[in-house]
Symmetry: C2
Subunit: 428 residues, 2 copies
């Protein structure tokens, strides 16, 4: 996994200035001096270079307060772009965002399925090329590509601990192969974590700086933002609420434990239950010739959701049972982190969210441990299907915008040591 190229320690001042401009929307050089603690001379030099590089524009004057009018600066939003890719068994989503994180192009294509990883990577390279060319963006302006997937990434840039549907990706050196194929710097992350970064970056959570996404794609996970930084844990595996025990005597999960959220309530469990019940199988069309146990879980889950929305009681019962388990897993997450905001997101909740949302909210209202002190708000993402891809692009932008910590001369305990610090968009 490569980091984007940059020089140190100069890049620190540059990133700090860029991030303050981004967060402020517009700001003067004097304002930058005050906000960053850098000297006027440093600000002057850094801003000059940012203007020369086309990343920042002079955009008019602040109202005079008696002295010399101050020139306002803003990001040149169309000066740089980032690609975000969400790779999953059942679908691959792409976004291209501008420097502010706004989506300027998006597309969805067939999932990785059972194809060999090199074949899928070659296709991703072609599809990324089409995405960039489709909106006429100069490739030299694309900072890099963020790719997120269910499998957490190893330091060597491959997947590990993948769910069964992605098991053939285990230890494939994804970052290096993809970087060669696409010709852009590549950054990898977990899709649930990216979904939280996407919500935070795109303004979907307002002023909140600590919250979680509850993510349901083919599997179930959570993305954690704590004090404005992505919390990833010791090995990038934080937020694994799909693998917390809801029933000590429950069925065995692929992860090796029993009664996990995913095995009792995930899309595959819902689909298996629908197929096992003759009436529900008929009502959802899962008994038909074109459908078989080998069909994608995502399309079969979508069929159950459509049946429930048509008023089929069996399908609705299955989804509500799944939602109750997901609600209890969400309560566990909320009790561990004492959250006040949870965002439901991910491809499966993009279609089933309206069924799950009231069940999760009601369970938290009824039994969240700290309910006597505050309520938890549960909301459905405005971009539940695309939030991992948007977060993937945001990870690339952050690497350009957010200063590196180690360049700062401060006692270590003053500075967040996590790698996951986030900036956020001033406007969605």
């Amino acid at each position: 996994m490569s980091t984007l190229p940059r020089a140190m320690p100069h890049a620190t001042s540059r990133s700090a200035v860029l991030d303050v401009i981004r967060a402020a929307g517009t700001i003067s050089r004097v304002g930058l001096t005050s906000a960053t603690g850098l000297t006027g001379a440093t600000i002057s030099t850094v801003v000059r270079r940012l203007i020369d590089d086309g990343l920042v524009l002079e955009t008019g004057h602040a109202e005079s307060t008696g002295g010399k009018p101050r020139v306002l600066l803003q990001l040149n939003l169309s000066s740089r772009f980032a690609v975000g890719v969400h790779l999953d068994h059942s679908g691959i989503s792409y976004v291209l965002t501008n420097l502010g994180g706004a989506v300027v192009a998006r597309m969805s294509r067939a999932g990785a399925g059972v194809a060999d990883p090199p074949v899928v990577v070659a296709r991703i390279a072609r599809e990324v090329q089409a995405l960039i060319e489709g909106v006429g963006v100069d490739r030299s302006r694309v900072l890099g590509l963020g790719l997120v997937s269910p499998g957490p990434m190893t330091p060597a840039g491959g997947m590990r601990l993948t769910p069964p549907s992605m098991a053939h990706w285990n230890d494939f050196p994804l970052a290096g192969v993809l970087e060669t194929a696409v010709g852009l710097p590549v950054m990898l992350d977990n899709d649930a974590t990216a979904s939280a970064i996407g919500e935070y970056w795109s303004g979907g959570v307002g002023a909140a700086t600590t919250f979680a996404t509850v993510f349901m794609g083919a599997g179930i996970g959570a993305g954690l933002i704590v004090n404005g930084s992505a919390y990833r844990g010791a090995s990038g595996n934080a937020g694994e609420i799909g693998h917390i025990c809801l029933d000590v005597d429950g069925p065995e999960c692929w992860c090796g434990a029993r009664g996990c959220t995913e095995v009792v309530a995930g899309p595959a469990a819902v689909v298996a239950a629908a197929r096992a019940d003759g009436e529900i199988a008929r009502a959802t069309g899962l008994d038909q010739a074109g459908e078989s146990p080998r069909s994608s879980t995502a399309s079969a889950f979508a069929a159950v959701v459509r049946a429930a929305r048509r008023g089929e009681p069996g399908a609705m019962n299955l989804l509500e049972a799944s939602a109750r388990y997901l609600a209890i897993a969400t309560r566990t997450l909320a009790n561990v982190l004492d959250l006040d905001l949870v965002v439901l997101t991910g491809p499966s909740l993009a279609i089933a969210g309206p069924i799950y949302l009231p069940v999760v909210q009601a369970e938290l209202d009824r039994s969240f441990f700290a309910r006597a002190t505050h309520r938890i708000t549960v909301q459905l993402s405005r971009s539940a299907a695309m939030s991992p891809a948007i977060g993937a692009a945001a990870i690339v932008l952050q690497a350009e915008l957010v200063p590196l910590r180690q360049g700062l001369r401060l006692p270590e305990n003053l500075v967040e040591s996590g790698s996951g610090s986030l900036a956020r968009a001033s406007a969605p």
Copy 2:
């Protein structure tokens, strides 16, 4: 709840310098300049005042590296002290620590029981007086008193969401009444959170900056340290692993949910099961005249542990069953936070830890989600009975030693903004 008196912004440099000296052990003025980023002139002024105030000592010279020998500075450990109090139904523990957090006096007294809060507070004031006088420390050198208890604290300085045994403390204005009675600034916190702060502060976790304590006193909780800061959540209720669901159809818990760790595995559940089984009740002495269901859970739980250690199989079976539940709750915590270090602590684990530790370690080795990437080390606290009180004292010391964040001129996203920072005094 009061904050300790200090001036701003001067206090920031002072605290930063103090904390760097504390962390370093010994350090020169040049070393301080390098570590803090403050100018040599500022360091010189701040150090002079710290020496004048008696908080810092000159302690000899560093080995010459060719230039002028450098004078080394260290904390004057006996210049200031802090009181830590762990208040619980079944026991009240006290420590007096020096400026470095080392315990210079400790004592344990009867618990709060069913006595009225004002009566208990008056006793605490007398016992704190005895603690301080017993070691001949001048009261003017005691910075303040930290009190921790199972009930999280409300902004008004009282308890809320208390377990049933402490229900009569609900909304009692503890901080104010205690401050008046003791004559010291008072800071309140949750006992499980304090246990983690105590481990971190006292060096029990080595160089780790992210870890959790799994705390078992009368109830079960967890204390979370993330990137060197206590994570408290939106209302100080983070880490409530006693109230996560291990069995959706399990017995109802006092918190309103079903199948919580505490109701299936806590000391009260162990004791109830021991009393309900005639053979175990006899083997543990819980059937005797002096014992009744009204006896303290702590003493009855201790009786079960003693019986297990004597080789009574029924008692051992009950504890191992409890340990398996606690292990699964610990796995949930570890899967949510992707931890690599868990410390077992609290009064109940002070006595039962040797039985619980191998069960928890084995469960994590077997089924922790990210076990393919790294192992989780589970260790027993070296001061499991006193760690909440030690942490309570540490919270007071931190308020003196660790700089406030807002005094620093940095972009906001460089500085931890959460309420959980160890650096902060609790809000009034």
